[in-house]
Symmetry: C2
Subunit: 331 residues, 2 copies
C-alpha cells in the first residue's frame, strides 16, 4: 500500500480512500492511484483491515451436519443472504459430537467472526451458557428442544408441524394413530400430533408410539415392522421425519398392505425424495429458507447495531403438503 501511495505521489490514506470507494477523492488523484494499483497488482490485505476496524465481515455458522437436505438448504440460503451483504460464511459442523461443538464455539468466538449463527440443539444445548456473553451477536435457529429465553432464536413451530400432520389424518377420518418417531429428539412433534387427536377427544396411547433410534429409512423400517406386528393394522402412521416415513412405507408394503388404501403415512420435512416416493409422500414442509432469512436478518441487524441481539422467539409456521400417501380409512 505504501508502494502504491509513493508511486501515485499520495499517502496511504488516500490510497485507502480510493480502495474503499470513498467519495472524498478527486477524480484526478483517484485515476492516478488506480493506475498505480493496477501497475503494481496491489491487493488490500483484509486481515490488516480487520485488525484496524475490528470487523471481519465473516459470520460463523455452527450446524450439526450438512449431509442432510434440511441443513444443507438452510446453510446454502444463509450463505446466499450473507454474500448479498458482503459477508463470508465460516462453516463448522458438529456431527453429533458435543466436544467438537464446544471447540468450535470457543474458536469462532475469538474475534474471528462478527456474529454467530447456531443451528440444531442436541449437541449444544448444555453449551448455551457459553454463548451468552462474549459480546458477539448470536442467533439460534432450528432449535427444536427447549429454546433458551436468554438468546434470540428463530425456529420452526415443530409442535404445529406435528399438529398439522395429526389434524390432516383426523380430517381424513382416522380415529387411531400410530407414531414412529426419533425420540426424545422429536417429542415436540409427537405432542403436536397428539394435540390434534385430543381436540376431538381421541387419545394416542403410549403403546402406539414407537421409537426409531435414528431418523433414517432403515430405522423407520425396523420400528414400523415392530409397530405393525404389535398394533394389528394401524390405519394411520405419523412419522416424525420423511426419512422415517420412507422406511415405514417399506414396512407397510412388506406386510402386504397398501399405502394409502390400507395405511396412511405422513411425514415431516419435505425432503427431495418425498415427492418421488411411491406413493408421493404427504408431509409437513419445514420452512427452511424462511427460517434462514429471519435468522440472518436478525444477525445482520445485530452486527449493524454492534451489540448482542436481544432475546426473542420467532416461530415459523410450517405447511402441510398433501400428496398421495394419505387417504381416508377403509370402512
Amino acid at each position: 500500500m505504501a508502494d502504491v501511495a509513493k508511486r501515485a505521489g499520495v499517502t496511504k490514506q488516500t490510497v485507502s480512500n480510493v480502495v474503499r470507494g470513498r467519495s472524498v477523492v478527486s477524480p484526478d488523484t483517484r485515476a492516478r492511484v488506480e493506475a498505480a494499483i493496477a501497475e503494481l497488482g496491489y491487493t488490500p490485505n483484509l486481515v490488516a483491515r480487520s485488525l484496524a476496524t475490528g470487523t471481519t465481515m465473516t459470520v460463523g455458522f455452527i450446524v450439526p451436519t450438512i449431509v442432510h437436505p434440511f441443513y444443507s438448504e438452510v446453510v446454502e440460503e444463509v450463505e446466499t443472504l450473507l454474500e448479498e451483504h458482503s459477508y463470508h460464511l465460516l462453516l463448522a459442523t458438529t456431527r453429533g459430537d458435543g466436544e467438537r461443538a464446544r471447540r468450535h464455539l470457543a474458536s469462532l468466538s475469538s474475534r474471528s467472526v462478527d456474529a454467530l449463527l447456531v443451528a440444531g440443539d442436541f449437541d449444544l444445548s448444555d453449551g448455551v451458557p457459553l454463548l451468552d456473553d462474549h459480546g458477539l451477536p448470536v442467533v439460534l435457529c432450528a432449535w427444536e428442544i427447549d429454546p433458551p429465553d436468554t438468546l434470540p432464536v428463530v425456529t420452526v413451530d415443530y409442535e404445529q408441524a406435528g399438529y398439522l400432520a395429526g389434524r390432516h389424518l383426523r380430517e381424513l377420518g382416522h380415529r387411531r394413530l400410530t407414531v414412529i418417531a426419533d425420540l426424545p429428539a422429536h417429542r415436540i412433534r409427537v405432542s403436536g400430533a397428539r394435540r390434534a387427536f385430543a381436540e376431538d377427544g381421541l387419545d394416542v396411547p403410549a403403546d402406539s408410539v414407537f421409537p426409531a433410534p435414528r431418523a433414517t429409512p432403515e430405522s423407520g423400517y425396523e420400528a414400523a415392522m415392530l409397530a405393525l406386528s404389535a398394533t394389528g393394522h394401524p390405519t394411520a402412521v405419523f412419522a416424525s421425519t420423511d426419512a422415517i416415513a420412507l422406511g415405514v412405507i417399506e414396512a407397510v408394503r412388506r406386510h402386504g398392505l397398501r399405502v394409502p388404501e390400507d395405511v396412511s403415512v405422513v411425514g415431516i420435512d419435505d425432503i427431495p425424495q418425498a415427492s418421488h416416493a411411491h406413493p408421493p409422500l404427504t408431509t409437513v414442509a419445514l420452512p427452511k429458507r424462511q427460517m434462514a432469512q429471519e435468522a440472518t436478518g436478525l444477525l445482520l441487524r445485530g452486527i449493524a447495531e454492534s451489540r448482542p441481539v436481544p432475546p426473542s422467539l420467532t416461530l415459523i409456521t410450517p405447511e402441510i403438503l398433501v400428496r398421495e400417501s394419505s387417504a381416508p380409512p377403509i370402512g
Copy 2:
C-alpha cells in the same frame, strides 16, 4: 494481553508464549500467567495474530452447491479433515453463477485464507487463469471437464466410472446401450460407457444417446420417455447420474416394463436414495471422501511448504455397486 502481562508481572511476550503453549516458560510464571488469564477472561485476538504471522488458519472452499449429496459429503469431509489440523473452512457456493464464482475468487484470495480449494468446473473453467498466480496454494477437485495442467487437481476418473457402468452391462450380456445423460457436462462419462462396448466391437450410435437437460429425476424421466418411444425397447440404459436413473426407472415402469427384467438401469454417484430405490439401483459410487482426503492433503502440504502446490493430476478410481436394477437381457 497487556493487562494480563501486567497482572502477572511479566511482559506480553511471556503471555504470548504461555498462550501458544511454548515450552520456554518456567512452570512458576506459567501458572501466574494462566491465573491472570482466567481472572481477566482474556481471549487472544486471532486477527491480530494473523496480521503478525501472515497466516489465518482458514481454507476457502468454492463449490457449486451443497444441496446435493455429492458436494455436501465432500464439503463435510473436507471440513472434518481441516478441523483435525486446526484449520477453519470458509465456504462459498457458486450456484451455477459464473459471475458469483469470480467474485468469490477475488475476495477469498485477498489474504483472508491460507489456501483455496475449488470444486466443480462448469462455472469457473474460464476463471482458472485467475487462480494461477496469486501465490496462494490452490487445489482443484471434482473437475470433470478439461482439468488444467497448470494446477494440481484431484478428481474422480469419470471416464472410468462410465466404463465400469458400461462393462457391467456388457458382462451381463447386453449388446445395445441407451444413454440418458446431462450433456455436455457428462460427456466423459458417456465416452467411458462407449469404450466398454467398443472393446467388444459394439457401437453406441449417436441416436441412442438422449440428453437430459438437468441432472434431476424429472429431467431423466422426460428424456427416458422420449428414448423409450424412439428406440423400441432398449434392454439397457446407462444414466449419467443416479438422479437421472431414478427418473428413468419411473419412465420404464410407466411404459409397462419391468426393471431389471425388461430393462436394466445403471447410474453414477451412489446418492443415498440409490439403495432405497425400487429396485435398489446399480450404480458407480464416486469416491467422494477419498477425493476430499487427497485434495485436503495436497492443500495442507502446500500450506506447510508455503508455496503453490505444483501441478499434478490425481484420478481417484470409482467402484461399481451392483444392486438389483441390472440383470441379463431376456432371450
